[in-house]
């Protein structure tokens, strides 16, 4: 290595940009690589295909006679299964995938290591959210949705109207995003992995009960979204846009709170 004078240091030192996004791009690439550079890039889409499209095959092919006796018919049953079960399953997947994201890094010491670089804590949380949301949307939505659309169109004998199908997927994606944010926020605030996992799951599974308890108040929460998904997929108009707006607001508020609390934490 060639000798270097003291004065050279200033010119040779690389200078980072600073701001709330500082370090985002590098961390985003790293988070995404956890999907793209491992078996996840093909395992996850296949698993989601089986989980989301598999149940549809019961009314469509495997137990057609049983479902044909239902008043709603096999086509409606299959569509209902895909969207209702899909909204629930993808949200559970989001919680499972995201719950260890911050907690593990904090416990292992890699969070402190990364944050000893010019990395804003907000950028660290944002990179985890954006990368995992993107990866999960691609893995859990793209392939299963294309196959489901094809199967439903085949059953119907004509192409399904695209707008309601896409709108329902959009609502489902927003629901998934909320649980990603909720789990990430809990992970940033709470140090116990079990709590980070159980609180969002409890909210998810007790959704119907909470909707009953909250009555009109449920409109100011994301809890109604899973109910709206199959309704919109069937061509119905969104009864109220309030839960959509509220979900976006909850996501922003949770991220802001997580950023503030995580920003004050001693690592």
């Amino acid at each position: 290595m060639p000798a270097m004078r003291t004065g050279d240091v200033a010119t040779m030192t690389t200078r980072p940009r600073t701001g709330w996004w500082s370090g985002f791009t590098n961390l985003f690439r790293k988070e995404l690589a956890a999907w793209t550079r491992t078996r996840s890039w093909w395992v996850q889409p296949l698993v989601w295909l089986m989980v989301l499209v598999g149940p549809m095959t019961l009314p469509l092919y495997l137990m057609r006679d049983l479902f044909a006796s239902e008043t709603t018919g096999v086509f409606e049953m299959a569509r209902e299964m895909f969207f209702s079960f899909g909204a629930l399953a993808t949200s559970i997947g989001a919680v499972l995938i995201m719950h260890g994201s911050v907690v593990t890094e904090r416990q292992s010491g890699t969070a402190a290591w990364v944050l000893s670089k010019p990395v804003a804590r907000s950028a660290m949380l944002a990179a985890k959210l954006v990368a995992n949301a993107l990866a999960l949307l691609v893995a859990a939505f793209v392939l299963p949705s294309v196959v489901a659309y094809a199967l439903l169109s085949l059953e119907r004998g004509a192409a399904l109207p695209l707008a309601p199908f896409v709108a329902a997927l959009g609502l489902s994606a927003l629901n998934l995003l909320f649980y990603l944010v909720l789990t990430l926020a809990f992970g940033a605030v709470v140090r116990i992995r079990g709590v980070v996992l159980s609180v969002p799951l409890a909210l998810l599974l007790a959704g119907d009960l909470l909707v009953s308890l909250l009555a009109r108040g449920a409109e100011f929460s994301p809890l109604l979204l899973p109910r709206f998904v199959p309704f919109v997929a069937a061509g119905g108009a969104l009864p109220t846009a309030l839960p959509v707006v509220a979900t976006v607001a909850w996501c922003v508020a949770l991220m802001a709170a997580a950023t503030i609390v995580f920003g004050r934490e001693d690592l």
């Binding site: 690389t14 980072p16 010019p118 690592l267």
Partner: protein, 332 residues
């Protein structure tokens, strides 16, 4: 006005400057009003027993923890308010370095470099290769970190701290988990970096500090109990003393030596080979020139051994830490 809140000078003399820096965790005082000044381009040893507050200080400098009192500046930048800018100029090695296990050493260094200004593919490759070479990891650069030994991880820790050529290296126990060969390598690396950056490192291995540091600070119970150039610290604690192991020297010779104006005291004790004289002096140069000659003036005298007592950093460290702890207890 808080002296640390003044506008940063354009070229601050100190790489690190803390004033009354404090950190409490509930009732526990981790750091208690630390005043520290680390000169630029020095190798600064930061010593203290377990729990003295060394790692806490380093975390406060990097914004990984938040002070409960006082302030710290790094190159004139406020360590809390300008934390991102500070971290842009610092390379840090934690006490127990942790990395993403699925990455290789090379990928880890590329990842770290990615947090700094883009360099281009060729420059990035050169930097990574250079850092791997510096710490002797080139041979296993493409092995997963999962398979690296503790010592190899430590070396990788130094490489990742240095990869972006920081102005300041903060190293928490850089040689802790290394074997003697590894320790020697790390000390050599620190020496090689001396002209390129300021090195602020903590360690329990006092011999390492004595070998490479220009200046040391000693911390006890969250307080600084000493800061000085290492030679000053080693000589300031005790008056210069010479030890002579002699046989067949009479009392008159001892009285002659005690009468010398530059001799402070002579203590005599029995030893296996005769008698041991501990001669404390006020003028080292005169003692070095004359003392042995005076002893040998008696033709019957036999001098078996003659040397100046070199105080080891360990002696100084233990004394200062004890004093610091006693003072800490008295104040609480």
């Amino acid at each position: 006005m808080d002296p640390m809140r003044r506008a940063p000078p354009s070229t601050p003399a100190a790489a690190i400057e803390t004033k009354g820096l404090s950190k409490r965790y509930g009732e526990t005082v981790a750091l208690d009003g630390l005043d520290l000044e680390v000169p630029r381009n020095s190798i600064f040893g930061f010593l203290g027993p377990n729990g003295a507050g060394k790692s806490t200080t380093m975390k406060l400098l990097l914004g990984l923890a938040h002070p409960t009192g006082g302030a710290a500046r790094v190159f004139g930048l406020d360590a809390s308010r300008d934390s991102l800018a500070v971290r842009g100029r610092v390379g840090y090695l934690a006490q127990e370095p942790r990395f993403y296990d699925y990455m290789t050493a090379r990928e880890t260094l590329r990842f770290v470099l990615g947090f700094f200004e883009p360099l281009g593919a060729r420059e990035t490759r050169l930097r990574v290769d250079e850092a791997l070479e510096l710490v002797g990891l080139a041979r296993i650069a493409d092995r997963s970190i999962r398979g690296l030994s503790g010592g190899e991880r430590q070396r990788l820790g130094i490489a990742q701290a240095w990869i972006h050529r920081p102005d300041l290296l903060i190293l928490d126990e850089p040689a802790a988990s290394l074997d003697p060969m590894g320790r020697a390598d790390v000390l050599n690396i620190l020496r090689r970096l001396r002209d390129r950056a300021t090195v602020f490192f903590s360690t329990h291995i006092l011999d390492d500090v004595q070998r490479v540091s220009d200046t040391v600070a000693i911390l006890a119970r969250g307080r600084r109990v000493a800061q000085a150039p290492i030679q000053e610290l080693l000589t300031a604690k005790e008056a210069p003393t010479f030890v002579a192991e002699v046989r067949d020297v009479d009392d008159e010779a001892r009285a002659d030596i005690e009468r010398l104006p530059w001799v402070r005291s002579v203590q005599v004790g029995a030893s296996e080979r005769g008698t041991t004289w501990r001669v404390t002096v006020t003028d080292v140069a005169r003692a070095e020139a004359d003392l042995l000659r005076r002893l040998l003036q008696d033709p019957a005298a036999v001098v078996v051994e003659f040397r100046r007592v070199a105080f080891e950093l360990e002696d100084v460290f233990l004394d200062l830490v004890k004093e610091g702890s006693d003072a800490g207890h008295a104040n609480r």
